[in-house]
Symmetry: C2
Subunit: 195 residues, 2 copies
DNA sequence: AACACTCTTGACCGAGCGGTCGGATATGTA
DNA sequence: TACATATCCGACCGCTCGGTCAAGAGTGTT
């Protein structure tokens, strides 16, 4: 029998995934080269292709791992009063990214670089996140028409996702404080929107 | 004396700018090629370089014209009661893009592709937009610390800018309705956020 | 008419890209 | 030990990209 995978195979694969994610996020996926990613990871370009079939496949691995983690974190938020649950969801999403800004930026930047079926797999995860938040908003502000509920939900994701594009770590408001600000804004504002 | 520029020089230059903006936005600036942009505009690639010095310069022209128009629209919103003014600002921004989604998407996608000094010129316009909105929010919810005021302002831009990434024309909520929803959410929620 | 310059094009170029390959070396299995 | 395969690399390949160029045709100026 031939030898199997090395014991640290998954570790090395994950290390490349994370190193490449940071490099891709810093330079933009399209502008970033596989040669540059290899140098950033401290390995040869050929080794990247030993662990990942292509540049697109590497991107998919990065985004899939990222979104899976996010879904898991959101699923772990306890049930409870709608206000507390919304606050928990918003906090969970923002906190999850404390050490994953690179992956998050990539998601905004590079999703369209993937093949349609790969996009579909990731959008499934995204839809699940949206659905979870929409359920809670529906409890907080019952009676919204479906398109209004969708719009209100997406406006929350807009606030959260936009955060990473203007916030500079160590400057301005912190993550926890911003999470509370968004939660306060939504909880206070939802009752006032039209059906 | 030699002949000067053709009478329709500026028209043709603008036509290329708008055609290229749509093409760039549809494909992503980095993935879009100048050859493709030329074909989309119905001219030769060399002609693009007759009217614009480089791919980056063309992008800068697109974004500068776009942001200038946005600043003009926002400056034209009348003074008045803070609530009405905020509503007017939000409407103005969303409505301005009814026929400029391409340019708006480009702004999110490709700003980092520009040289730092070009980015600075555009960020000056962006700062002016942010400042105008922040002034009105400061009137609606006096006493916010500076970093809270910035965060609240950026959360509004988050809702507005995110709109173009999930909204599909003809499906779901309309632009006017979404503008009102955001204004209601902000006006209702601002009093409830902490100092 | 003569000129200078704009307008427009297809052909072309060097650079950098994603991806491949042959081989060197390490390591688990039999 | 002998073998098969994983692991790793430098060198290489074909292609597309941004950008250039030489030249033809049109046009305002003198």
């Amino acid at each position: 029998m031939p030898r199997g995978l090395a014991r640290d195979h998954d570790d090395k694969r994950a290390a490349i995934r994370e190193g490449a994610a940071a490099y891709f996020a810093a330079h933009g996926f399209d502008r970033a080269s596989m040669a540059g990613a290899a140098k950033a990871c401290g390995v040869s370009k050929a080794l990247l292709y030993h662990y990942h079939a292509s540049k697109e496949a590497l991107l998919f691995d990065i985004l899939y791992a990222h979104l899976s983690g996010l879904v898991a974190v959101v699923d772990a938020v306890p049930e409870g009063q709608p206000e507390a649950r919304l606050r928990g969801l918003i906090r969970a999403i923002l906190m999850k990214y404390r050490y994953a800004d690179a992956e998050h930026r990539l998601q905004l930047d590079a999703l369209k670089a993937l093949a349609p079926d790969q996009q579909a797999a990731l959008r499934g995860h995204q839809r699940r996140l949206v659905g979870t938040l929409a359920e809670t908003i529906d409890l907080l502000r019952p009676g919204l028409a479906e398109d209004r509920l969708q719009a209100a939900t997406m406006s929350v994701f807009g606030m959260l996702n936009w955060f990473f594009l203007w916030h500079r770590p160590g400057k301005g408001i912190g993550r926890e404080a911003y999470a509370d600000l968004v939660a306060d804004l939504v909880i206070g504002g939802l009752p006032g929107i039209a059906d």
